[in-house]
């Protein structure tokens, strides 16, 4: 039951992009086509899951026993940066087709605050365990994917809209994101 609640909360109620404001840069940056947004979502799912697993273990078995909790931010960002590089190198060798699909997005992910954000938030889960943290990361990346893909589909239609000059570009995108976020607000009572 715990897990169902985590999933629903992460995807709909506390959507990582639309209500927690993590990962806004890729949300606004790579959402002009549905195909690229699918690729980005895949890359985030991949990296976020691995990164949370590693940072959770690092925190639990290295930082806390050694009393180095204050090094959390530094060590996590280093782990994530190193992981992204490693995933890129391994994917290139092991699965060139997957690398073709996700490759361009991987370097962008280091500065995606959703990855670091989820890694830190996962530490604060109630009755936390490794399994729960990993499940939390997967749920959040699904939430990211949902928001990004829906937003990209809307933006594809917006290209044809006849807008006043001052609204074009950033303002209209933010406005659409606001309306989407409003729609997600409707899920509040679910959990």
């Amino acid at each position: 039951m715990d897990y169902v609640i985590i999933l629903i909360a992460a995807v709909f109620v506390n959507n990582i992009v639309l209500s927690q404001f993590l990962g806004i840069c890729p949300f606004l940056g790579v959402s002009n086509k549905v195909s690229t947004s699918v690729g980005m979502s895949g890359a985030v799912l991949f990296v976020m899951t691995i990164a949370t697993t590693v940072t959770y273990l690092l925190h639990q078995y290295v930082l806390i026993p050694a009393g180095l909790d204050y090094l959390r931010t530094i060590s996590f960002i280093l782990v994530i940066a190193a992981l992204v590089q490693m995933v890129e190198i391994i994917l290139k060798k092991v699965s060139p087709s997957l690398y073709q699909a996700l490759g361009v997005f991987l370097p962008l992910i280091t500065t995606n605050c959703a990855v670091l954000g989820v890694a830190i938030l996962a530490l604060g889960l109630e009755n936390g365990s490794l399994l729960k943290a990993v499940f939390f990361a997967i749920s959040n990346s699904l939430g990211f994917a949902l928001a990004l893909i829906v937003f990209a589909s809307i933006r594809e239609h917006l290209e044809l809209a006849n807008l006043p000059k001052v609204m074009k570009g950033v303002p209209i995108n933010l406005l659409v994101a606001g309306l989407l976020s409003l729609a997600f607000l409707g899920f509040t009572a679910l959990v």
Partner: protein, 201 residues
């Protein structure tokens, strides 16, 4: 632009011409995430400006020592160290703000403004120019966050910096302190900013 850089212009560009929020669209996560009140916006702006200043200065000092290949990881470590310092200072001296900003304090480390300025400016310029560049960008970012926070607080809670100017049971536009209000308020602010600076997108 190495030697005869006009320092006044260098400072001002961060506020208007290259405003990190309205023009360059960097650091959007904290911009939207913490601006539910003017005080939070100001606090986040100052914290970010501090990290920006310290890391720009540090990067500018060590730029000749760091090999080009590992410069990005090195910059990230420098930035993360200063973020940790800020995290500790806030927790010790302004615990209220520390709680309000929450997850967004450690996330200053992935704020693209800071890495962006380190890479694009501080790694190529001298100490004084880098410090002034950081100050300009920091002030520009703080201003943007404070304005956005003020607009949202005035509309959403009928107050400014915590001072209420409507009666307690008045109906305020609560939408603006909820997440959707962040997007909508920023959308209209950037329309106004574009109109004022005559920038055609």
């Amino acid at each position: 632009m190495a030697e005869p850089l006009n320092q006044t212009q260098n400072f001002l560009k961060g506020i208007i011409k290259e405003n990190p929020t309205f023009v360059m669209l960097l650091g959007m996560c904290p911009t939207l995430g913490v601006t539910s009140s003017a005080y939070n916006g100001l606090g986040m702006g100052v914290a970010t400006a501090f990290v920006l200043l310290m890391s720009n200065v540090a990067v500018s000092l060590v730029k000749n020592v760091i090999p080009a290949k590992v410069r990005i990881p090195a910059f990230i470590i420098i930035i993360a160290s200063f973020v940790t310092v800020v995290e500790m200072i806030l927790e010790a001296f302004v615990p209220f703000l520390y709680e309000q900003l929450g997850i967004f304090i450690p996330l200053i480390v992935v704020n693209c403004i800071i890495l962006g300025r380190a890479e694009a400016f501080a790694s190529k310029n001298n100490l004084l120019s880098s410090a002034i560049d950081a100050l300009g960008m920091g002030v520009g970012f703080t201003l943007a966050l404070t304005v956005l926070g003020s607009v949202r607080e005035i509309l959403g809670s009928g107050s400014l910096f915590g001072l209420k100017f409507v009666s307690d049971n008045a109906n305020t536009f609560i939408l603006f302190i909820l997440p959707p209000g962040a997007f909508i308020a920023l959308a209209y602010l950037s329309v106004i900013f574009n109109k004022l600076t005559n920038k055609t997108l």
